[in-house]
Point group: C2
Chain length 443, copies 2
């Protein structure tokens, strides 16, 4: 091996990245990126009400709206006041709460709906109409000329009331691109606050999203809002890529609840965004309230928090394999891009299993306030791994093995054993054999 080459490598490594940059931050090539300047339209009380299990009482809606407002969402979107009489009354009640978040309601592109909506006291109206061939044929049955005419009428009307107006296509990714750009330019010229892109069937992929947003950005001057369903699991990634392309606002709901398997989840998007721009996210949103917010909504719609939920899933900050545990103990950033403390949560090193390593066990030995040398920890780790091969281990099992091992060392020869360790010790004795190998773990 060329030592000159080695020297060069060493020097160049030191000179590289004198200032450590966040590799997950906004892409400097994206001049239009809003990754560090995004807003949330929280739709648990609109899209979320379309979730199969959702039935929100007025009191529950108010409780959720207050919690969302406290969390810091920019907008709260409510079910159309024409959906039912109670929907209208609830909309009016939430508008009267005096929240910091702006209140929106979501209606069809129709004057009948708009007239009711503007009387509820909302800060803005979100108008939507299906623009894909599918929806034009099987839903409302109207052509693009009709759509444009209705849109203009509704937009002018809502604007005349001095409140915000958004125009969104529905099923945007199966709509004709020329039709789409035409209608967006038309409504932008009238002066909407924002236009919306909606992946209504949940099937757009990130590069498609980026391309459409970038193209639209060159056509309209207003803000772009995006709404992504999660049928094919891309709703968080699509939202992020939309922001990279220049979208400003993302529709979310708590736990993603909505039609079918829902939309971009608030918590998952927070995970994605904090990795990209921690300062911005922490300055706007009370992340330590996320868990309570999710529990509130999960209870209301009678679901469990998914085991693999970003951030609040029970294992999101649990590290198991020996090699992971070792590095996490040395520096959490090795295997964690998110800091659990940012969300008021804590990290957990899973040491009670056969994939454990001696660093994880050493950490536990320290927690138990016992004194063992590294070699002794390695020995006891082998005992633990052997029992872990035989059956699932509890923390008590491991603690017993450690305490027993420690007792044997501390009190030489025929000292009586601790009670708790008795049964476990026998199980180990069966499989035990000398083993001086280094720690064997998984990556």
């Amino acid at each position: 091996m060329a030592t000159q080459n080695e020297t060069f490598k060493k020097v160049s490594e030191e000179k590289r990245n004198p200032v450590q940059q966040n590799p997950y931050g906004p892409n400097p090539a994206d001049f239009l990126s809003n990754v560090s300047n995004f807003q949330l339209i929280e739709s648990t009380l609109r899209e979320g009400e379309q979730f199969a299990n959702a039935f929100f009482s007025t009191e529950k809606k108010i409780e959720i709206a207050k919690a969302l407002d406290d969390f810091g969402v920019d907008y709260i979107e409510l079910t159309s006041p024409v959906a039912s009489e109670q929907s209208r009354a609830d909309c009016e009640a939430i508008c009267k709460l005096g929240l910091k978040a702006k209140i929106l309601t979501h209606i069809r592109c129709h004057m009948d709906d708009a007239k009711v909506a503007v009387e509820t006291g909302v800060d803005g109206v979100d108008v939507v109409i299906g623009t894909s061939q599918f929806l034009r044929q099987y839903s409302h049955g109207k052509d693009m000329n009709y759509i444009a005419k209705s849109a203009i009428e509704v937009i002018e009307f809502v604007k005349s009331k001095g409140i915000e107006i958004r125009f969104s296509s529905e099923d945007s990714f199966r709509s004709d691109i020329v039709d789409l750009l035409n209608i967006y330019r038309t409504v932008d010229k009238i002066g909407v606050n924002r236009v919306g892109i909606a992946d209504t069937v949940g099937c757009a992929n990130p590069r498609q999203v980026y391309d459409l947003v970038r193209t639209l950005k060159s056509v309209v001057h207003c803000d772009i809002e995006c709404h992504f369903h999660n049928d094919t699991g891309c709703a968080i990634a699509n939202a992020y890529t939309a922001l990279e392309g220049g979208a400003r606002l993302i529709d979310v709901s708590v736990l993603g609840i909505g039609e079918r398997n829902g939309i971009t989840p608030l918590g998952g998007l927070m995970a994605r965004m904090i990795a990209a721009d921690r300062d911005y996210v922490l300055s706007k949103y009370k992340l330590h309230k996320l868990r309570d917010l999710e529990n509130l909504v999960a209870d209301a719609v009678q679901v469990n928090i998914p085991f693999n939920n970003p951030i609040t899933g029970f294992c999101a900050f649990t590290h198991k394999a020996g090699i992971h545990a070792k590095a996490i103990l040395a520096n959490p950033s090795t295997y964690e891009i998110l800091s659990p403390a940012d969300f008021g949560l804590s990290r957990y090193i899973h040491f009670a299993n056969r994939l454990t390593g001696w660093n994880a066990i050493k950490s536990r030995v320290d927690q138990l306030n016992l004194n063992l040398t590294d070699d002794q920890v390695k020995d006891v780790t082998q005992k633990i791994k052997k029992l872990g091969d035989v059956r699932q281990l509890s923390i008590d099992d491991v603690d017993s093995i450690i305490r027993d091992f420690h007792a044997e060392i501390a009190t030489p020869i025929i000292a009586p054993k601790g009670e708790a360790a008795g049964a476990v010790d026998e199980e180990i004795a069966i499989t035990e054999e000398p083993e001086a190998k280094r720690q064997k773990t998984e990556n």
Copy 2:
């Protein structure tokens, strides 16, 4: 409005897309795309074993391996045989099953591990080593020269045994790009079967992934495998984008189980891929076995299928809002990009709620084999929506209202009411009032 323009639009709409193309298919601009030519490395028995709750007995491992093989996965990856004695015995046992899927094991980049691995009977060995500054500093503490030397030694050794070899970096997206490309080119020249990119901390975003894969594709001739953790919710999208960029193989696990909140889930990736290339996916994988496979693993690790799981979540094919239900009944493609029948599942129109519409109720009336005119259905729909405003509805509630309404019409004046409908009818009577408005629903 210019009628000439309208005529032009109509003609041009008819001439457009004479052959309907799948808008979610492979991007024709991606010459290197493997969206229609991908393979799965199924890692439930390796990455999945690192899930906090996982403890697989030998019997359970064999049951899972057989189910994965039956499903049609291309590779099955197993925990390192040096993790524990039982891990080694299990690896040998699974190799002896004679499955169609190739069996891999996953080891550290070290001769001690490689020597054990090649004796187990596996078809290939997946080697991994941390290449990021973080892992080099806090995990193994080696420099890139050491990594290259170890890699060459291990690769030559495994190749000499006539089995497949993959070399993967770990934490690839926080590794120096020049270091990465250097080591990948080195191992490609020796002749590995594939090189792996791993987003170990779960924080890469789709466009980063696309860029890295495209760049790597220009450096190596072998296949590219990708492994994505899901900490920020992008594991499915990243996998898809990697295939677009030219990666060939994706690591998955059932329900995504793995370290922390896991990796790209098998089911979620199937949802994503079938939307892109249904024929390819159906030709390779037995999708109707997905639900059983997920239930098998969920039981083994004692978790529930998340309510919002792609495809198999309880509401994945449930449509609720009136406008959605109307269009779905006319043509399921309006709001469904996935066909539940492809997965042996069925669609459900949720009609028992205040967001329901008369099309959904009409469908239910037909199911009940009752005769009502459209106007009558609209009337009964208003009754249902009113009760839905008061409390959560069950299917029985709605059926009672419909049957009662039908009975009133069928048997004029003082006919006795059906028993089941009695209580419900009273509740409705309180809020009932004449309403001739058209159906009011949410989008």
